[in-house]
Symmetry: C2
Subunit: 521 residues, 2 copies
């Protein structure tokens, strides 16, 4: 493919992408394929001769699209959102063309430096303490990881290295492997699976901390466990607190956990993968209070801040903790400026060596939307102003909504609409006495279920999944099987969640009638 063909095919691809995203609503959100479907649709070996590009692009609709779960469909309510926006996609195109592998400053200074400054911009948007901002702190700073899983792992490994060094300095008689075997870390029973996995990888024990009735870890519970473990000769060294857990979007009480960790010389990492984006809004920022106690903090702009995957933002109070844990420095990676103390070599901050120029996406998105635009998006008001056509269609629905809302209007206005959509959905659920809400609705996630057995809820989910009109996934809270309804797509509107709720209700009533359950209301 020469450059002239690339110009032509690239422009066709831009149009294909625009068409795909504009009309995504028409596609079934969850694919109707059996495992192994794809192998039968394409040859079992690569072609020997080059193929015509037209044949390749035709196969996107024939082979790929039938097997896609459409994460950006407004009928997608599963997991948490995956961010997507046009400026992020443009920046990613540029990132691919530059194609630098920015493992060190010298490998492409712009790649490293823009990242440092973008993490400062974002840190300031979140009002992080100055110690996390590279431009003002002598010691801290930010980095883009691929995923929150990697951020948690990096934090745990840095903490492991730090505690081993400290213990060996104060107890020279202890061997590294003796210390290693006594290390213990803590996280909520509701933490993301990647936290437990980080401990598996790091080869250390991780204990699960139970929560209060809001599914949040409290200081007292942690303190008791730490004291027991210390009494048993163990060495507590790492706590991973979560702001916005995956099952129910619960917030561990970091104002209680932080002082305990600081006092006990325990590394506190905060994982706010989903909820972190909301902290750019003043009304949500109080949930981040206590961040000053943390050694490291991470959230995923690739979830809820319009920046396409992968872009997981991580800050550390003391970058020497990371660098010290992983520094292996062969000659072929050295460069003239690395000893100056002025440059950052991000390869010491992460698991992989190579890294793409991901900060371009942040730069394009922050500037295209502005802080206000991003806040508005979290509050989900952008479509109202920007997309007139849709706005017109929705006005009628909104009027009806406003009547219902009445005097709550002022509060709703402040809360913002992405959250409001969740709140609207919560109201729909609460208005039907066959259903119950299972966790406080704080951001864009609603946990709900049919009053009744786990089996009947499993049955409801199975039917929803089978019909493919909407897509959602379950979670488990205190042995209860629960349905998670997460507002995900950039284009989700009130009419979508109304339709989703009608659909869920219809299926639920069918099941209740089949099961001879008493249908209430």
């Amino acid at each position: 493919m020469d450059v002239a063909e690339f110009r032509r095919r690239g422009k066709e691809m831009v149009d294909y992408i625009a068409d795909y995203l504009e009309n995504i609503e028409q596609r079934p959100v969850y694919p109707d394929v059996e495992p192994g479907y794809l192998r039968n649709l394409i040859p079992s070996e690569a072609p020997v001769e080059p193929e015509d590009y037209n044949d390749i692009i035709k196969d996107v609709e024939r082979v790929i699209m039938p097997g896609i779960t459409h994460w950006h469909s407004p009928h997608f309510y599963a997991y948490f959102a995956a961010a997507s926006s046009y400026p992020a996609m443009l920046a990613d195109m540029l990132c691919g063309a530059i194609g630098c592998i920015g493992f060190s400053w010298a490998a492409s200074p712009a790649c490293t430096e823009l990242e440092t400054v973008m993490l400062d911009w974002l840190g300031k948007m979140l009002k992080l303490p100055e110690c996390f901002i590279a431009g003002t702190s002598g010691r801290g700073g930010g980095v883009i990881q691929g995923t929150a899983s990697e951020a948690t792992l990096i934090a745990l490994l840095a903490a492991r290295c730090k505690v081993i060094n400290r213990m060996r300095a104060s107890n020279p008689q202890l061997s590294e492997s003796e210390i290693f075997s006594k290390l213990v870390s803590y996280t909520s029973i509701y933490s993301h699976s990647s936290v437990e996995r980080a401990a598996l990888i790091g080869g250390v024990t991780m204990k699960k901390v139970s929560t209060d009735k809001n599914f949040a870890v409290r200081g007292e519970t942690l303190k008791k466990m730490i004291e027991e473990d210390k009494a048993a000769g163990l060495i507590p060294f790492f706590v991973c607190a979560t702001l916005g857990t995956t099952p129910s979007c619960a917030f561990d009480r970091i104002t209680e956990l932080g002082p305990i960790c600081n006092e006990e010389n325990i590394w506190m990492h905060i994982d706010a993968a989903y909820a972190g984006s909301a902290f750019i809004c003043p009304e949500f920022r109080p949930l981040l209070n206590g961040i000053e106690f943390a050694d490291s903090f991470n959230f995923n702009p690739h979830k809820w801040l319009l920046i396409n995957f992968d872009c997981s933002a991580m800050w550390v109070k003391n970058r020497a903790d990371l660098i010290g844990a992983f520094n292996v420095d062969p000659l072929y990676l050295k460069h003239e400026n690395q000893e100056s103390g002025l440059v950052t070599d991000y390869r010491h901050w992460q698991i992989p060596l190579g890294r793409r120029f991901r900060s371009l996406k942040m730069w394009f998105v922050f500037r295209t939307y502005g802080i206000q635009g991003l806040q508005t998006y979290i509050r989900k008001k952008m479509e109202r102003r920007g997309e007139e056509r849709r706005g017109e269609e929705r006005r009628g629905e909104e009027r009806r909504g406003e009547e219902r809302r009445g005097e709550e209007r002022g509060e709703e206005e402040r809360r913002g609409e992405h959250v409001s959509l969740a709140k609207e959905f919560e109201k729909m659920v609460l208005a039907d006495e066959n259903f119950e809400i299972c966790a406080e609705v704080i951001m864009g996630l609603v946990c709900f279920r049919l009053k009744g057995s786990n089996e009947i809820n499993q049955k409801l989910l199975d039917r929803i999944t089978k019909l493919r009109e909407i897509h959602l996934v379950p979670c488990q809270l205190e042995e209860r099987f629960i349905l998670r309804f997460a507002i995900c797509a950039r284009t989700t509107e009130l009419r979508h969640i109304q339709r989703a709720w009608s659909h869920i209700k219809k299926l639920a009533y069918e099941i209740l009638q089949e099961s001879s359950h008493c249908l209430k209301g």
Copy 2:
């Protein structure tokens, strides 16, 4: 940015990318900026209001380009190649638009299934033993990792889990931490820094194995170390062999190492990050003999197979080894098909949870080029046939080259031109008795130096780096400071390496004269 603007801006971006790559040769390959240059060029905080897209795109030339090391410039001879091609970029655009996060089969079946089949296609191109091919083996298969670093780490962690389980089964009196502390792994003194780092992360000892005079690890040396360690009560569990080391592109003798590992129940991982792509050519495939002894194998199509970063291909003989090492399975990630045994959930195969739809790049590239096209690229003959204009310009130079080559022509033909370019460069070096070649030239890398001190060679490299006409990095072989000249860009031609050699020679002569060294010849 609405969809209409995206259509317009996207097409502009396609043209910008085409212009950038077409004219990349005119830009200085290595940037002339001081650490911290970028912070002064942009505001210290994100804008509150949205900015005009025109201002953003203008800043690409003002802020970004001055700080780019142009990895795809034909004047770039540093590290190893980073792959780049137009079909890969098109596929990446599509990947961004689909924007699925393919951690499980259900999260987007096409994403998982295309990956499995593409790794089969690629495995067959390499003539991997059937046990590594998912479609024919009951137990093995391939996966895309982000980087070779992650592949090595995953392999080491799987090996660690396996040996701990085996030792505990056979020695129930041993605790996990006792076993842990006795584990020992091995790799060449010339292995990539990420191998040592994998052991640091995994918390296990890694011993460096010395090499023969070709910088290759031999069976005897390894066997001796293993025996000594076993005698000392240690548990050898992991060997990482390298095919194509970073310093000199040396090939560890896997036909010797493999049987030892198999006999000793040691996991053998093979890292062929750079050289692996060449194994699709029959003439290079013998270097992969011994693969049948390996438990896992990895190379980077994002280096030398025209697929943009990141795309690191990894195969395992027994996928249960990976899955068993990392399986943490919360309800919100379960899906109806996972117990069927028919589906692959790649999240168990890797460090991160989330993953992009990277196999699209493989599919587009394999089909656009065909196996023959890819082989030709490795052999670097494509430009001759495809790009007529350039071909015309080069014909004169080639004729001169052909006269020099004389009867070697037949062999050169088989060897292919990317390697031939390296061979041509080697000849230029050998023709000047002030210089020496420091390692056998097998693929696209030439290790050379001025006969003389490390200091004088360091001085030569410093001057090359400072003048920014070409870019290369050093390595160290047996305490000697050496210059690495790697054929990197897709568009590198004979005229480029001729110009590079003239430039190097000129600088070297200046230094020799300044230092009052005796200039030979």
